[in-house]
Symmetry: C2
Subunit: 612 residues, 2 copies
Amino acid sequence: MDHADSTSDTSAPASSAGTGAGAGGELAEEITSLEGIPALSLDAISSVAYGPEAMLAVLATAGAGALAKIEPITVAIVLLLVILVLSYRQVIRAYPDGGGCYAVSKANLGHRASLLAGASLIVDYVLTVAVSIAAGVAALVSAFPGLAPDSLPISLGVLAVLTALNLRGLATSARALLLPTAVFIVGIYVVIVAGLFRSHPLPGAEIHVSVPTAAAAVGVLLLLKAFAAGCSALTGVEAIANDVPIFRAPKVRRAMRTEVLLGGILGTMLLGLSVLTVRFHIAPEASQTVLSQITGASVGRGAIYYVVDLSTTAILAIAANTSFGGLPVLASLLARDNLLPHVFGLRGDRPVYRYGVVVLAALAGVLLVAVDANTNALIPLFAIGVFTGFTLSQTGLVRHWLHERPGRWWARAGLNGLGAAMTAVATVIFVVTKFAAGAWVVVIAIPALIVLFSRIDAYYRGVADEIGLGTLPPAPVAERSLVVVAVTAVSKMTAAALTAALSLADEVVAVSVQFDDQRAASLRSDWDRWNPGVPLTVLRPPTRSITKPMLAHLDDLMHQDCSQVLVLIPEVEPRKWRHQLLQNQRGILLANDLRRHCDVNVARMPFRLAKM
Amino acid sequence: MDHADSTSDTSAPASSAGTGAGAGGELAEEITSLEGIPALSLDAISSVAYGPEAMLAVLATAGAGALAKIEPITVAIVLLLVILVLSYRQVIRAYPDGGGCYAVSKANLGHRASLLAGASLIVDYVLTVAVSIAAGVAALVSAFPGLAPDSLPISLGVLAVLTALNLRGLATSARALLLPTAVFIVGIYVVIVAGLFRSHPLPGAEIHVSVPTAAAAVGVLLLLKAFAAGCSALTGVEAIANDVPIFRAPKVRRAMRTEVLLGGILGTMLLGLSVLTVRFHIAPEASQTVLSQITGASVGRGAIYYVVDLSTTAILAIAANTSFGGLPVLASLLARDNLLPHVFGLRGDRPVYRYGVVVLAALAGVLLVAVDANTNALIPLFAIGVFTGFTLSQTGLVRHWLHERPGRWWARAGLNGLGAAMTAVATVIFVVTKFAAGAWVVVIAIPALIVLFSRIDAYYRGVADEIGLGTLPPAPVAERSLVVVAVTAVSKMTAAALTAALSLADEVVAVSVQFDDQRAASLRSDWDRWNPGVPLTVLRPPTRSITKPMLAHLDDLMHQDCSQVLVLIPEVEPRKWRHQLLQNQRGILLANDLRRHCDVNVARMPFRLAKM
């Protein structure tokens, strides 16, 4: 499986990394349990900004009377959350090196399951970016309705800023994130507690219920749809398990504590917000988010409102940034396993997997444009990938416990089995109920990614086979060598190229392609006067092509002497980068064309300028 | 002046080409006088679609009463047209090889004037594309008002199609253009003649005069502004003189005949349309063009209307295409004179100057977006560049006649002098009256281009000096050579690279950068088992950089042996282009980094796959 890896030219990614890398970029320090919330849990916690809204949007289709059903559905979701939290505590214990869904599937469920895990994770990361940014901008627009027509440009602007920061190798400090996270969490609790002490919304809140009050029948399908939509609030609870190694020792205990803390915060927030939604008769509105309405109803449109609302935007932007940390690391793992182009494993000299960052930004940008930055249009696509990952992780854990058989393995396997079953059922509910509303996109994207992975894998295997990787080839022996120097005029640069060529080759020839009789003649006469001891052929083709006459000439040379041929292309190398624009394009084109069409080695030889 | 040219790697453009190349791409055949109209005069003739409208837009600011002033102003413009036509007949006679404004200025007025000519031509080409496309889409929207909100996307779509056609090397046949041109010209004449027989507009025409009827004072400044705006109708009358060589013999006589034909058609159209404008009380409207209103008033909104309107759109799109033929040729001339990067002279194997096409499309696209595809917002920018060119050409001709002194040289010089004076005055009028409305863009752009030309020229001179072009350097002598082979694993590819290296160099070493202890060890043991007779150094850097440890190692090697060093990077070369995406990025990055930072030659050595 690993053998084709070194056929290409990719450095393997750091092996200790899980599939997530925390809140964007790399964390400089090891973190405590509490710091685990800002570092790894913002994706989950920030989903209170869109999860309840997504449920209401479904329920509203059946009239105002159906909106109250948010309470029982939220209870069901919180129960699922409890099972997920308990289950992920086990994942943390079983995979203290970072138990991302891809790693767990690969270890326990085999190649095919790992392909499914990889594909669903990629979909998940892209959607997390798009949903978080869209929801963050929706929160901003709730406070400043004048910005509403520009939601899409603002969203794309936020995406561009995140992309730029990540391309530059943003090193995020968990401690720096602690303050905005605390403001957000405390703010939401203040809203909930203040709201629970009120029986009616504050008058200034201006709640316009635009939902028809005539209640339609609330069917099971509707409740399932609302449940599916609300499950978007559970995305992100797996992130802690992916990144256990970044915790301070004792890593496992700290990570498990963070997971429980996350579950407690998220569960109480969801329950509290659902109670307030019903109490204040809140219905989804185009002009402001549900969370903004609840906040206004509970604490009024004063300073606290703006603090909560703006911290929501900030937290959602940071949550989007989590994926910028996660996807590039996942892509590099997949590249190491020959499932993605090896370029995704290239890090260069900066600690950033820049190709992954760029691809993630491009895909999220396309999604945002496609849905016009409307969060609710993305929700049907969202939870499928995440819940597929949940199911795979926990099924993998069941296999793990059955295989390892530690103490109380049956209880552990039972818990993970329950989690796997529930998340599998939830996944099926999503696909069935949301198919027409957008889930079909994911249903197409995941198999398409799996096919892509398989074909890339097959290619790298084929290459390894063809270059005989793992076998010892015959020892190399020296052959007769010819260096062909491409010349445009007599100059110090040409002299340097001929010096290099004479030093390297048994035989050296110079060749020049000229499109102008006068220049051809003057080059010939300069050469004869110079007399460098190397024969020059001046080609004067009828068409304007440089490559074709060069290829024909090389063909002639190689027929005469079938050994090692190297074409040397001397180039001016200016000191300033911008002067590159003025130079060398012909050399690049010629080098690429020769490399593509003909069996010679091509070297571009820089002549360094001292002054220009 | 010419000496720095061969320092870079650019093929000189075809020397026989003028600054324009006819209707986009290259004309396959030689053309007759009549075919000269579709091939070279569409830019001029199609300007009847926006010239009268531009005048009315200015006059309307002084109320409905001022609109009738279009008649005297049109008479003044037609008089200027007559002088220009007579003057360009002389240009054709004096420069039968194609007397583009750049060539004439360079030959007669010296270096600085040629820079001004080049800059104004570039501005002219870009604006021709933007104005023609915007006006063509405005004609389309007049017929189908439902398209109005999408004017900008439609304009950018047309631009994209033209760009794609030109990148693929569109070969336009003048004969193919004859039919749409004839339809357009005959259509406009039908409209004019039908309109002259009517005293009132047809009732179905629905003309809404939204201009205040209270007449403000019509000052001289307003008349001058309207004159300047209307002069946009004269752009393009120079095109025939640029491309005399494409006419069938007797070239000069045919070209002169085409110039007169163009003047006759354009002049009568402008006069006829101005009469109808006044007769039908036509005022500029947002929802449809003036030409569309005149057409509706003359012939009704029936079949003829749609034929005229759609042929207007077609003719304007073809007129935009003219610039795609012209700018790339001009850019290649400027590149040959070291005023633009030599890359603009690169043609590759297809007969297209693709860099010029791409730059033209990008600039026109920016303009269209900036003015939201509104033709009248571009008009203030338009005529300045063109009239600067007119002035330069004719001033150059005066110098030419004074120098050559053929028969009746004083009459010729006098005529060109009159033309130069009038167009110079017109240029000043444009700049003064239209400065705030947009002309400042051109007033900044032209000097900025001239500065750019000068700096590029200075760079190429500096390079020629530094590489000692034109001097004979000492003869080259062979030195001791070292080839460093970059290795990732033992394979047939590595063996091929070592064979090449041993054939070339006096000394060969292999080096590998590994980020993983296990892999480093297995490479070492494979190498020892293989024992290819070349020493291997495995670098195991602490960071994830490939380049830095390679550079440090090369530094060590070069200190030991300060002669010719070549780094050979073997690469898998797949058969299918798309597989390139899966391969070789590390090689490219390493090669570029080494080339940039260190004084070695770098060769990427392709290992051609037979199967994959």
